[in-house]
């Protein structure tokens, strides 16, 4: 039962914050992806950095259970799937998480996203054996690996560097990147279009 309460609290907060950072609004996603307004990219970079620093810092202090880490396998399909997700993300302006939250905020088009998503996931379930047979799901670069070896974790590493220190340094790197990233990389700086449409 505890896990269900945690699911409600953390899931609820996640949905709330995704809406507040603008991630449920396809206009804000589109402006990030066409490089005309990178605020959301800064938000994401900062979030990854903060999460990383707290997690690895907490692990080093013995406050965070290393066993909670869950690293996914690397295989060629990760990149191909990433390309597909990216294309659909740009077209719809939703990714799986933000699409679901956007439906909660009253966006009717998000319901069509969820319907398309359910069909897409079902199509993958049916076609999975062909992908499996193609070898594109076979592990590359060591499979479930992190950049450095994280003490106490069950995952291998791609380098011999200490994974917790590396995680901390990379986390700080993400934070620096969030600050360094310009407000926009394309379009007219200072144009009227920079004002939010809402």
């Amino acid at each position: 039962m505890t896990s269900i309460i945690l699911a409600i609290v953390i899931g609820g907060l996640f949905g709330f914050v995704l809406d507040r950072v603008g991630a449920t609004n396809p206009t804000i996603i589109g402006r990030m992806l066409n490089l005309t307004n990178l605020s959301l990219a800064k938000t994401i970079l900062l979030a990854i950095g903060v999460g990383s620093v707290l997690m690895f810092g907490g692990q080093m202090l013995g406050l965070v259970n290393v066993g909670h880490m869950s690293v996914k396998a690397a295989y060629v399909g990760v990149f191909i799937g990433g390309l597909m997700l990216g294309a659909g993300w740009a077209l719809a302006g939703f990714c799986p998480g933000t699409g679901v939250v956007a439906a909660g905020t009253g966006r009717k088009d998000a319901l069509y996203f969820i319907a398309g998503g359910l069909l897409g996931a079902a199509a993958y379930m049916v076609t999975y054996p062909s992908w499996k047979a193609s070898g594109l799901l076979d592990s590359i670069l060591g499979g479930k690996v992190t950049l450095g070896l994280v003490p106490g974790s069950k995952f291998e590493a791609i380098t011999a560097l200490p994974g917790d220190i590396m995680g901390l340094v990379l986390g700080l790197g993400f934070i620096v990147l969030a600050f360094a990233l310009p407000d926009r990389l394309a379009g007219q700086p200072g144009g009227a279009a920079q004002q939010p449409a809402e």
């Binding site: 609290v9 603008g22 066409n34 903060v50 799937g81 740009a90 990714c95 966006r107 897409g120 379930m125």
Partner: protein
């Protein structure tokens, strides 16, 4: 009202940290498969079956990794599915607290309207197709923006970097092609 990126990024980072501190890293796209499985199992109850060791399925994808997806289909009241349902409620509470969306925005986002006009059917077809590609790709990749990009890179996972490279390599050119007019 969108939060300033410094406050928003900090809050989002704290949520990702809270998840890994208390339970496990955040992920969403698997639940589309679980929902499909629950629906399909209602129509044909033989889809997911119990075994001595746990659960399995006549669908190879649900049966993979020792039947962990089959198990979730058989037990819908689990952490990951409730998490996603709670996300919807979180979004609902947030939008109510900021005064709700206007009618035009509920139908389609401003950037889409500026570039493609206000046909609701056109928008909904595009989003449906987009949803199909996004979830097909996410399942092929084994995760989405939450699980691979954010949770993955936060844990210095190689697969997170691989996924993110793919996602932006496609998303940026497609968005630049589609959204030439700013809104």
């Amino acid at each position: 009202m969108t939060l300033n990126w410094k406050i928003g990024g900090l809050m989002l980072g704290l949520v990702f940290f809270a998840a890994v501190l208390l339970v496990k890293p955040i992920g969403v796209s698997t639940q589309f498969v679980i929902l499909d499985g629950i629906a399909a199992d209602l129509v044909s109850p033989d889809l997911v079956t119990q075994t001595d060791e746990g659960y399995t399925s006549s669908n190879a994808y649900l049966a993979k990794s020792g039947g962990k997806y089959a198990k979730s289909v058989a037990n819908p009241l689990n952490y990951s599915l409730v998490f996603v349902i709670a996300m919807v409620l979180g979004g609902f509470v947030s939008v109510k607290m900021r005064g709700g969306l206007d009618k035009a925005e509920r139908a389609m986002p401003a950037l889409w309207r500026a570039n493609f006009g206000d046909s609701v059917a056109k928008r909904n077809i595009a989003v449906f197709v987009g949803g199909f590609i996004v979830l097909y790709g996410a399942r092929l990749a084994g995760g989405c923006t939450s699980g691979h990009m954010m949770s993955g890179m936060m844990q210095t996972s190689i697969s997170g970097y691989l996924f993110t490279a793919g996602a932006f390599a496609a998303a940026v050119p497609v968005a630049m092609m589609l959204y030439k007019k700013e809104a």
